[in-house]
């Protein structure tokens, strides 16, 4: 899985899932509300029918000449009658109802229908019918179906994302292989050029040729540096790490010397404050990569005729330049591979990515402070 692929899968899943969940929620809420309304209407119709039945029974009772009038009772519902002053006349309902006019409502798991009555049989101006509310009972089913659909969507979307990403993965793999092959091919010519330049007798050359040779040397070192970075990135997992006790002070001086010619082109000065005999247990190649990348970046972005400061003691290494600096947004992305902020300068944007992987490997903390047009300060502490 290449860097960012997890993020892509995550974003696609979130987007796909959230839209699906939204759709499911809308559909199921609509269905639930429709069913609720349907049940509501059914109950209302049933209670209206009970009210009509009660009205007929009351009218018969009103005409009765018996001394005692037996209020009509029904096992299917309970009822009450209220006069025009909303005063209770008779009730089989346990609680008193607040009559506000015609109404249909649910309270304490009971459904009530209040209907006005005219003529007022037995003095009843309002009939109240009460039944136990029917539970809708579809919420759990809806929830199970929704969860099942979401689970299916998660699985299918995962496969879908993988299918979509496959061509991208293949392209990246192809690119990686191409860079790997190219890197291998670069090794021999670069080594040959650098070895030959070193063997040339400078005293036997005229100043013009010497100047040209210096330029070739600088260019070769730049390519060599790039080669080392690419090799580190692409072959890192294939090379074994050989950690050993290093003299960091010596290596720091050596790397500064290595870049001296390059720095001279921009008339840069090095101010070194290196404590002698600083030891560090690590792989030499990796420490050189670490220093080379910080130094080459400092040289690349430093303003002409300025000073690059290098401070080294037992627990810290600080390299500070007076360059163009980086913005807050650029600083946030400085360790991301292939992040390039100045296209006019060479490079692939892999320098600080390598730095980060090395400092992480050796438990070194890194802090980069940068201000636009003032410079950048890289602090390593261990």
């Amino acid at each position: 899985m290449y860097s960012g692929e997890k993020k892509t899968i995550f974003y696609v899943l979130v987007l796909y899932l959230s839209s699906t969940v939204l759709l499911i929620t809308t559909l199921f809420s609509g269905y639930y509300l429709y069913e609720k309304e349907r049940l509501w209407q059914e109950e209302r119709e049933l209670l209206s029918r009970y009210a009509s039945e009660l009205e007929v029974a009351l009218s018969k009772l009103h005409e009765s000449n018996e001394d005692t009038l037996v209020y009509p009772r029904n096992t299917a519902f309970r009822s009450a009658i209220y006069d025009s002053d909303k005063k209770l006349i008779f009730s089989t309902i346990e609680s008193l109802i607040d009559i506000q006019g015609a109404d249909f409502f649910t309270k304490n798991k009971n459904t009530y229908l209040i209907t006005p009555l005219s003529p007022h049989y037995l003095g009843a101006a309002f009939l109240v019918i009460q039944t136990e509310s029917k539970p809708l009972g579809i919420l759990r089913d809806i929830l199970y179906i929704a969860l099942f659909i979401i689970a299916v969507v998660i699985i299918t979307s995962y496969f879908l994302v993988n299918i979509i990403l496959r061509p991208l993965r293949e392209n990246i793999k192809m690119l990686d292989n191409f860079i790997k092959d190219t890197t291998h091919e670069l090794n021999t010519p670069i080594t040959a050029i650098l070895a030959n330049i070193e063997t040339i007798d400078a005293d036997g050359c005229d100043p013009k040729t010497l100047k040209k040779l210096k330029r070739i040397d600088i260019a070769s070192k730049s390519i060599s540096n790039l080669y080392q970075d690419l090799a580190y990135l692409l072959l890192n997992h294939q090379t074994s790490t050989q950690n050993q006790e290093l003299n960091l002070s010596e290596i720091a001086r050596e790397r500064v010397n290595y870049f001296l010619d390059m720095a001279q082109i921009k008339r840069l000065r090095f101010a070194l404050e290196i404590q002698e005999g600083v030891r560090f247990f690590a792989d030499k190649n990796k420490i050189e990569r670490l220093l080379d990348n910080i130094l080459s970046n400092a040289i690349k972005y430093a303003k002409r005729d300025t000073t690059i400061q290098l401070f080294l003691d037992e627990h810290s290494l600080i390299i500070e330049d007076e360059g163009k600096g980086m913005s807050k947004e650029e600083l946030e992305r400085v360790f991301v591979r292939y992040s390039r902020f100045d296209k006019s300068q060479g490079g692939f944007g892999i320098g600080y990515n390598i730095v980060k992987s090395i400092v992480d490997e050796y438990g070194i903390s890194i802090a980069i402070n940068s201000q636009i047009d003032i410079g950048t300060k890289v602090e390593l502490r261990w």
């Binding site: 009103h62 005692t68 009038l69 037996v70 002053d85 005063k87 006349i89 008779f90 007022h120 037995l122």
Partner: protein, 109 residues
């Protein structure tokens, strides 16, 4: 003692009112087996005790064909009732006794 005297007074007042009801109402309606039907008619139209009593009082003070709750054939046959010559207080008392005796709500079980 006071309580006893109060209850005794109320009892005699009730007896007196009952006797007034017999004299003022039952003297004419006593052998009317359909006397309670009037209550049914009023209940059917006016529903609550307050409304029924108010409508009865208004009709007895000023009986009109429009205000009568009797069916048209009764009105044609018997005409409308004569205006009551009872004072307001006595008439209201008689109506209260009539309501208490014949109202339908109290018959419900």
């Amino acid at each position: 003692m006071v309580k006893f005297l109060t209850l005794l007074t109320l009892f005699f007042l009730h007896l007196s009112a009952q006797s007034d009801f017999d004299k003022n109402c039952m003297s004419c309606h006593g052998d009317d087996f359909k006397f309670y039907i009037i209550m049914k008619k009023y209940t059917l139209k006016y529903s609550s005790a307050t409304s029924i009593k108010k409508a009865m009082f208004a009709y007895l003070k000023n009986p009109t064909l429009e205000a009568s709750i009797l069916p048209p054939e009764y009105k044609t046959k018997f005409g409308i009732k004569e205006k009551s010559d009872l004072n307001d207080e006595t008439l209201k008392q008689m109506i209260d006794i009539y309501y208490d005796k014949y109202n339908l709500a109290s018959k419900l079980k």
